[in-house]
């Protein structure tokens, strides 16, 4: 077999075999609006000039901001040993190997990752990882449908909006139903999932529910009543899915404690820097009775013919290379390198270190709350939070922009992230972790206090459309 590209003569021969004159004819069925236009590339430049140009572009990134942005991706300190070990070329594959048992080291690293996550969530089975938290959440929801033979899933509106969008994409294609659960509008429980509505939706015997999906902490940073939601869900014969932030599990009850059948989440916080568009790490775990429903690869530990410890791919009958269209999923590319980063980070910190990280983040967040309150910026919701919360800020988008110019990334503009959520048009979602400094907090409070006290020039204040 030749590895050279097709020559024009090759193409002509193939077209002749198809009875066609041109490649365009081959693609005639694709509407022109969907075809790519010809690439318009600038002429080549010398390497040195190109480097200068790219350096100029890179310099536009603002990397020295006092950042309070979380909303699903969190900054944490990562000891240098994590990156140092990741630099080893032996690890450089995004995938599990195709001749897996030959690569005992890779399998062991996946097994260690699964074991660490199993300890965090308290569930029996952990997959070798998925693309990201959104993909893992969608797979969790699909698992509830396969396991129960039902086709209706309820997801809280306090689950990350991106995750809900991915859920809609997965469910639309599968012909399954996804319904959103509203949030309590006011009072002490404001912003948490409305459990009275959950109970009503679950009681529709005509249209039984397969699974219920809640996040802990929620997208708004609030703590949900997971045990109550889980109990209601199980009473209706449905499965309960907890979307979790793994660092929080060092101080919050693990999903197993409130009877979650499946846990899904974004593993980025485990020592992976926040980076635009990923790569991130999808965490997925379940109880043993659901093991044949979990998608993706599983690594197990066994003994070889000589009685020595060995790692193997296990329960592969769920997977696409064996079951094809009946596989548990056909979207199960895993993120082995990122899972390794998470394992290294967790191992470097240890259980006490992880608890310190979570507790310190919570302490920083409560300092942040007090500092903001001192300049008149108050929380939107009354309930308990861990390290992230929403604050009421008039003209939030304009204030956010103004603060960016003053060196502060003031979290997330909720009017843009969740435009359809009532009562959040003038709100910012802010977070703190152990890397948030007291200086950062003081700067944020001072600058936002000034911005809010100064009547902004008319051309600067923009009411969100």
């Amino acid at each position: 077999m030749a590895y050279g590209p097709h020559t024009p003569a090759d193409r002509q021969r193939m077209l002749a075999a198809l009875g066609m004159d041109s490649v365009d004819e081959l693609f005639a069925d694709i509407p022109t609006s969907l075809r790519s236009s010809p690439l318009r590339l600038d002429p080549p430049e010398p390497e040195q000039l190109l480097m200068n140009r790219l350096a100029g572009l890179a310099a536009k990134n603002k990397v020295d901001l006092a950042s309070f942005l979380g909303a699903g991706a969190y900054r944490h300190f990562s000891p240098p040993l994590v990156d140092q070990i990741l630099l080893r070329g032996e690890w450089y594959t995004a995938y599990t190997p195709y001749q897996p048992e030959v690569s005992q080291g890779t399998l062991q690293s996946i097994y260690e990752y699964e074991s660490l996550i199993a300890e965090l969530v308290g569930l029996d089975v952990v997959s070798a990882s998925h693309y990201d938290g959104a993909a893992a959440t969608a797979e969790a929801a699909l698992m509830t449908c396969r396991a129960t033979g039902r086709g209706r899933v309820l997801v809280s509106r306090a689950v990350h909006p991106h995750y809900r969008e991915v859920l809609r994409t997965y469910f639309g294609g599968a012909g399954l139903g996804i319904e959103e659960l509203p949030l309590v509008a006011d009072g002490q429980e404001a912003g948490t999932t409305d459990l009275a509505v959950l109970e009503r939706r679950l009681s529709d015997a005509e249209n039984p529910v397969a699974g219920v999906v809640l996040a802990q902490p929620s997208f708004y940073g609030l703590l949900e009543h997971m045990a109550d939601a889980s109990k209601l869900t199980h009473a209706a014969g449905a499965l309960f899915v907890a979307v979790v932030e793994p660092v929080s599990l060092a101080v919050l009850a693990p999903p197993a404690a409130y009877g979650a059948d499946i846990a899904a989440g974004e593993g980025q916080a485990l020592g992976i820097p926040p980076q635009y568009g990923g790569p991130y790490l999808g965490i997925l775990a379940c109880t043993e009775p659901l093991v044949r429903q979990i998608p993706g690869r599983l690594v197990g530990m066994t003994t070889d013919v000589d009685g020595k410890r060995a790692y193997v791919m296990t329960l592969q009958a769920r997977e696409q290379h064996i079951r094809r269209e009946k596989a548990a999923s056909n979207i199960c590319t895993n993120q082995t390198l990122l899972a390794l980063a998470a394992s290294l980070w967790l191992s470097a910190l240890g259980p006490h270190g992880l608890r310190d990280v979570a507790a310190l983040g919570a302490a920083r967040a409560s300092e942040l709350e007090a500092a903001l309150a001192s300049v008149g910026v108050a929380r939107v919701h009354a309930g308990a939070y861990l390290n992230e919360f929403a604050v009421r800020v008039p003209n939030a988008p304009a204030v956010h922009r103004e603060l960016l110019g003053r060196g502060v990334l003031a979290g997330l503009v909720l009017a843009e992230a969740v435009p359809d959520e009532p009562g959040l048009a003038d709100a910012l979602l802010v977070c703190a972790t152990e890397v948030t400094t007291g200086d950062d907090i003081a700067t944020f409070a001072r600058e936002i206090g000034e911005v809010l006290a100064t009547p902004a020039p008319a051309d600067r204040v923009e009411v969100p459309a």
Partner: protein
């Protein structure tokens, strides 16, 4: 030798008819082809199965195969022993390795199945 009192599908399921109850399993030939069976996924009692449609899944160390119902009807019994002892499918496919019992809806469907001689011929060609 395949038992002469059973009927068979081309997909290697057997059925034993007793009154209006049909007991269903997979043949010794199928069990051998599969290798060591490690898991059998069966429908719940009360579910309806349809002739020649999938009613479950059998998983061995090297393959996963769908199970096809020889006759239509309602599931009235499931072999719970297979949950902890799936190897019964290999050791006693026509006895303790049975899978489900079905209340037969249409007895005429039995006539569409292979008899022992027909099934033996099929496996001899395989």
């Amino acid at each position: 030798m395949v038992p002469s009192d059973l009927r068979y599908t081309k997909d290697h399921e057997w059925v034993r008819v007793d009154g209006d109850t049909a007991t269903i399993g997979v043949t010794d030939f199928a069990a051998n082809q599969l290798g060591d069976v490690v898991f059998v996924d069966l429908p719940a009692v009360g579910k309806a199965v349809e002739q020649f449609a999938t009613f479950g899944v059998v998983e061995s160390v090297k393959a996963v195969s769908d199970l096809y119902a020889p006759v239509s009807g309602e599931v009235v019994g499931v072999n719970a022993d297979l949950g902890s002892k799936p190897e019964l499918v290999n050791s006693d496919p026509y006895g303790e390795g049975w899978m489900i019992r079905v209340k037969v809806g249409d007895a005429a469907q039995i006539g569409e199945l292979l008899d022992a001689a027909g099934y033996e011929k099929l496996t001899a060609e395989a």
